[in-house]
């Protein structure tokens, strides 16, 4: 197998070397430039990437045909010999998401207005994948009641049904992902988790933005003691790590809530919104400060315009882009904080289904990985649902920031 590997690598290197030396005479100017700038090592990198992609597709085909691959393929593909369904799932996931992103982008390029088409043309695959994923989450969250087979709090007789729906292996076709320790359908809870976890995070972020941005812009516009006062308070709140502070306040909140469990969720939203609004305050104040020193703002100020005109007409339209990007980042942060709190058992309270709590409750199943991969995948599915959304949002934000920063890189 080592020899095969050597042939793959060595041959590829020679090929990219030859390509690099021979190609400058061919092709259009752009291609020539690209080759010149990429260099032999860079070409080799692309080659390796291409090889891996080819092998992935090969393997995928092999998998569809029942994973009965010939020996020679196993020896070069390196993947053919693996028996790990997790790796296979991961690879399928990446390939499928990549393809979905690609198709989505291709679709966006041919449908819609001139502006949206231009946007899709300049979009990297990661961003289009991100937008697609966010769209899917939104749809699932909004229509959870329709999509989910059962209610989130509905309890069934059969507890701890295994996933897979195969009665021989302890499953039940009417509960494809099985049931939890008190007999609730896991698929339904996963779907409702989108509504609760994402919805609550979204509401919290909006609240944080409302508080942070309005105070930040006011501080930038008014300046003076108002600005000083708010800035010092924010400094102090930010001197304690956010999750730690949230935990402390949640202790007090649970004491206040007493037996009214649903109040805890409300308190959590308020606490995280206030703590997170400090960062929004910092950013919007900084953005506001940059606008306040501009001449057009001075002109409006000297005209005698009142505060609301200054904030809503002069500052806000110009603060849109950075605030939107920050909204994405803040949403991720809030989302992760809420998930962490729920995971620690102090966040969103039952009977509401949420992903953080699900991970906590199902985490023991991970030890079954060797004999029942599907069961072990359950906690990862909930945790992965969290990760996937934040990754998607981050990809989009990354692209937005890259675009607004111009061509600096």
């Amino acid at each position: 197998m080592l020899t095969q590997l050597a042939i793959w690598v060595g041959g590829g290197f020679l090929a990219s070397l030859a390509l690099n030396r021979a190609l400058p005479g061919l092709g259009t100017g752009r291609v020539q430039d690209w080759i010149k700038n990429t260099g032999t090592v860079g070409m080799f990198g692309y080659y390796i990437l291409a090889t891996v992609l080819v092998l992935l597709v090969d393997y995928y085909v092999g998998f569809l045909m029942g994973a009965n691959m010939p020996e020679w393929f196993k020896s070069i593909s390196l993947l053919g010999s693996t028996r790990l369904p997790f790796l296979a799932w991961l690879l399928h996931g990446i390939v499928m998401f990549g393809v979905a992103g690609f198709i989505f982008r291709a679709l966006g390029r041919s449908v819609g207005t001139e502006l949206s088409r231009k946007m899709f043309r300049q979009m990297p695959i990661t961003a289009s994948f991100g937008i697609l994923t966010i769209l899917i989450y939104v749809i699932v969250a909004v229509f959870a009641d329709i999509i989910a087979p059962y209610g989130q709090a509905e309890v069934f007789d059969r507890i701890n049904l295994l996933p897979g729906g195969n009665p021989d292996l302890g499953g039940d076709p009417s509960h494809p992902l099985g049931t939890d320790q008190i007999g609730r359908d896991l698929l339904s809870r996963l779907i409702f988790g989108a509504q609760n976890t994402v919805g609550i995070a979204f509401v919290t972020t909006c609240l944080a933005f409302f508080i942070g941005a309005s105070l930040g812009f006011l501080a930038a516009t008014l300046g003076g003691w108002f600005d000083q006062f708010l800035s010092r308070i924010v400094d102090m709140l930010m001197a304690i790590p956010q999750l730690i502070f949230a935990l402390l306040l949640m202790t007090i909140a649970t004491a206040w809530a007493g037996s009214e469990r649903w109040l805890i969720t409300i308190y959590m939203i308020l606490i995280i919104a206030v703590l997170d609004s400090t960062r929004v305050f910092r950013l919007s104040r900084a953005v506001g400060m940059n606008i306040v020193v501009m001449d057009f703002f001075e002109a409006a100020k000297l005209r005698g315009e009142n505060l609301s005109y200054l904030v809503f007409r002069e500052i806000l339209p110009n603060a849109y882009a950075p605030l939107l990007a920050e909204f994405g980042l803040r949403f991720c942060f809030v989302f992760l904080t809420i998930a962490a709190l729920s995971f620690l058992g102090i966040g969103i309270q039952p009977p509401l289904a949420d992903w953080g709590t699900m991970v906590k409750d199902l985490s023991q199943f991970i030890n079954f990985a060797a004999f029942s991969p599907l069961t072990a995948a359950l906690p990862l599915l909930a945790a992965g649902a969290i990760a996937l959304l934040t990754v998607a949002v981050n990809f989009v934000v990354d692209w937005m920031l890259h675009r607004s920063s111009g061509l600096k890189e």
């Binding site: 430039d33 501009m294 001449d295 002109a299 000297l302 005209r303 005698g304 315009e305 002069e314 110009n318």
Partner: protein, 553 residues
């Protein structure tokens, strides 16, 4: 002239920039020859591609720019296809570069002399010890104060003009065959600029170094270059020896550049005694926190007149404007409007008082809200001050757009980002006019614009003044602008008024030594101006040295 092989030979050079996946041509097939010991001036407005061409002569392109075709050779060595090793061998050693901002181009973490001796050491021209001795010698020749010691300071400890000379010394460290000067004096005040110019010219001729001198200032390039090449949007307009070029340019574009300097409007007579000035500053003293910036400043501005306030950066001319508008309430003294005192802070002024004083800004880019349509930028003051709405408001905005010579139908619904610099500045003027004020502050309104555009703006302002009997306060550091438009001049230095009076008097001696220095430091469109000035005043009596001498008195 062409019998010998030139030092730098550029043929049919094409450079493009890549923005948003679209290619933008920057240089379109320009040729250039430069012989040993010769200085060529590259001149053009912003976007002409002069910096790109200068860097290309070093075989260097900035990120995002690509050489698409043509050849660049230096002393017979091809620079376009040369590998990085060959280029590195030349750069610093045989070709050196002097950047626009010395403050940003020196590494803040190392002493100046350490950076000076770096190139000679790396290129094994001479060891560090010897190079440092040489540096002190060069500092001496460039007339830097304390040549023995100045190199051992860090860049932030040295003033801008001195740093620019230290960078010239650094470029000289390997005695290169060619130096590229990329707008080396643009960021400096006039009195400092003249010193740097004299030093650069001296040292280039002492070592018989060839140089490419890039600038947008005609008068400067006339002093420095043997030949001048005029560029316009990446194309060569024409090239000729400096004398010929100054006296008889061939191309229309060059002629128009030269002609700008000729605009001058007739000076109006001084206001009658006893006439109440529109704006009057009465011993205004102001400070930022605890730093005093204005001391007992007084001057008057009368109806229909233009008062130019001149001075170098830090002289307090913009601060005076801030006191008038009420952005910076003075510590003592007051501002009168038609004889009535204005409240110190703009927050206490009523709408009528605010309406009377309008402002036009230097940077048209930041002066207009990029997210507001022209209709609202101009329409807002119309509505705010005059209470016009709906069709009446629209009619008035159309009228204003016509006054600033922009087609109303075409521009009414546009955003500022879709306009050119000159058009933006016109919108700024319209916004000020919309308030129907008596008095407008023009803060360096032309200094960010190319000369032709600036000329248009000045003419427009003059026309509007005649139509509406406006009073202008014209803040500027550019004396040619003062000549063109002012009726009266106020000279400021370190927060005080040094001298003031009618323009024709101010441009004729005798006057205050500082005014004299300021006036004489402004480069003139005469290739012998610098020589004559140096003969007249002596090397010791120009620039910072002269200023500090004055302070000693």
């Amino acid at each position: 002239m062409t019998e010998k092989e030139p030092l730098v030979r550029i043929r049919n050079l094409n450079i493009i920039g890549i923005t948003d996946e679209t290619e933008v041509p920057i240089i379109n097939g320009v040729d250039l020859d430069l012989h040993r010991g010769e200085v060529i001036g590259l001149i053009g407005e912003s976007g002409a591609g002069k910096s790109t061409l200068g860097l290309a002569a070093m075989g260097f392109t900035r990120d995002g720019c690509h050489i698409r075709g043509g050849e660049v050779t230096f002393d017979g060595i091809d620079l376009v296809d040369a590998g990085p090793e060959i280029r590195r061998e030349l750069l610093g050693k045989r070709i050196a570069y002097v950047a626009q901002s010395a403050a940003a181009s020196f590494n803040p973490a190392h002493r100046i002399i350490r950076q000076h001796s770096e190139a000679p050491m790396v290129h094994s021209v001479m060891p560090r010890q010897q190079s440092e001795e040489d540096a002190i010698d060069l500092y001496n020749r460039l007339r830097l104060p304390n040549p023995e010691e100045i190199g051992f300071r860090y860049p932030h400890q040295v003033s801008g003009g001195q740093l620019q000379r230290a960078m010239t010394a650094m470029a000289m460290s390997c005695r290169p065959d060619l130096i590229i000067f990329d707008e080396p004096t643009t960021a400096l005040d006039v009195t400092t600029q003249i010193e740097v110019l004299a030093a650069i010219r001296d040292i280039v001729s002492q070592f018989n170094t060839a140089a490419i001198y890039i600038t947008h200032d005609l008068a400067v390039v006339a002093q420095m270059a043997d030949r001048i090449k005029v560029l316009f949007r990446g194309d060569e307009v024409e090239e000729a020896a400096t004398g010929t070029m100054m006296k008889s340019p061939k191309e229309e574009y060059t002629k128009s550049l030269w002609a700008v300097r000729s605009f001058q409007r007739k000076q109006k007579p001084l206001a009658k005694k006893g006439e109440v000035p529109v704006i009057s500053l009465q011993s205004v003293t102001a400070a930022y926190a605890t730093t005093p910036v204005l001391r007992e400043v007084s001057f008057d501005i009368h109806r229909g007149r233009t008062v130019a306030v001149v001075g170098e950066s830090g002289s307090g001319k913009s601060t005076a404007a801030r006191c008038i508008t009420g952005l910076l309430p003075p510590l003592s003294g007051q501002v009168l409007n038609n004889g009535n005192p204005l409240p110190a802070s703009f927050r206490q002024r009523n709408r009528e008082q605010l309406r009377q004083i309008q402002m036009i800004y230097q940077m048209a880019d930041t002066a207009l809200n990029p997210r507001m349509k022209i209709s609202e930028i101009i329409g807002r003051p119309v509505e705010f001050y005059l209470g016009l709405t709906g069709n009446e408001k629209k009619k008035r905005v159309f009228q204003l757009l016509e006054q600033i010579e922009l087609d109303p139908a075409q521009y009414y619904n546009r955003l500022p980002t879709e306009l050119s610099g000159g058009q933006k500045q016109r919108i700024g003027i319209a916004r000020a006019l919309a308030a129907e004020p008596e008095f407008i502050i023009c803060d360096e309104v032309t200094s960010a614009l190319d000369q032709l555009v600036a000329e248009g703006i000045l003419k427009l302002l003059a026309k509007l003044q005649d139509q509406m009997d406006l009073a202008y306060m014209f803040i500027t550091h550019d004396l040619s602008t003062v000549r063109a438009i002012a009726d009266e001049v106020v000279v400021m230095k370190d927060g005080e008024v040094v001298e003031s009076g009618a323009k024709n008097k101010m441009f004729k001696p005798p006057h205050h030594p500082y005014t004299d220095l300021l006036l004489s430091s402004v480069p003139e469109m005469d290739e012998n101006w610098l020589d004559e000035l140096l003969d007249q005043r002596g090397v010791e009596n120009i620039g910072d040295a002269a200023v500090s001498k004055m302070a000693g008195n």
